[in-house]
């Protein structure tokens, strides 16, 4: 189900970008590489080193895109999410209490396939995990504070460019904007 969410995000951004072309970031290959550990996590392959690798790659990506609108929000959200995953063995924690509130009972240690989540009894940093409930007509989602920051960063990136005032097709040059 998670891949469908990512495709939906890409489609929405693509449509918006048709009318408000954003400045494209540099070093996109780093993002592509950072996706690999996350794909493995969704397939059930979890290790803190994989999450750390993704985090380092995202921080490197940020190094090349510091002046891109929304980049700081994006990286802040990524650090919160992947940092939390590093501390939980490569998984995003979701507490049994959060699941119980949704009417779902799963024992601690359960790896939820197709997601990056593992059920935990408790965690000192549960509030950085998935606990915020978002209801959509399509499906209910449980998201983390880091997810909110990433979403805000994407919006900032998309809406920062004013097509009427800026030559959005110009190559992105960090530090010159």
């Amino acid at each position: 189900m998670l891949p469908l969410l990512y495709i939906a995000i890409a489609l929405i951004v693509g449509v918006i970008a048709l009318f408000r072309p954003p400045r494209l970031p540099r070093a996109v290959y780093l993002l592509a590489l950072a996706c690999v550990p996350q794909i493995l996590a969704m397939m059930g392959v979890r290790h803190w080193l994989l999450a750390l690798t993704g985090l380092v790659l995202c921080l490197l990506w940020y190094r090349f895109n510091r002046s891109l609108p929304g980049a700081l929000l994006l990286v802040a959200g990524i650090v919160l999410n992947l940092g939390t995953m590093v501390l939980h063995g490569g998984s995003m924690p979701i507490t049994t209490a959060t699941l119980a509130a949704l009417g779902v009972e799963l024992p601690p240690g359960t790896v939820i396939m197709g997601s990056k989540d593992t059920v935990v009894a408790d965690s000192p940093i549960w509030w950085l995990g998935d606990w915020i409930r978002v209801t959509t007509p399509w499906r209910n989602w449980i998201i983390s504070p880091g997810d909110l920051l990433v979403a805000a960063g994407l919006l900032r990136w998309l809406l920062a460019t004013n097509p009427g005032k800026e030559k959005s097709n110009a190559p992105y040059a960090p530090g010159l904007s």
């Binding site: 951004v13 072309p21 996350q38 997601s115 998201i143």
Partner: protein, 42 residues
């Protein structure tokens, strides 16, 4: 126009990659969800 479509396509791909690399949302599992597996010993 073609350039704008290509740029929008790139923006879509990049946003998808950012979401994949940086988010960790969970679609609400059902009470009898079959998409779970228990890690033995964890």
């Amino acid at each position: 126009m073609k350039k704008r479509i290509v740029q929008a396509l790139f923006a879509a791909i990049i946003s998808g990659m950012l979401a994949l690399a940086g988010t960790a949302a969970l679609g609400q599992p059902g009470p009898q969800s079959s998409s779970v597996s228990t890690v033995i010993g964890s």
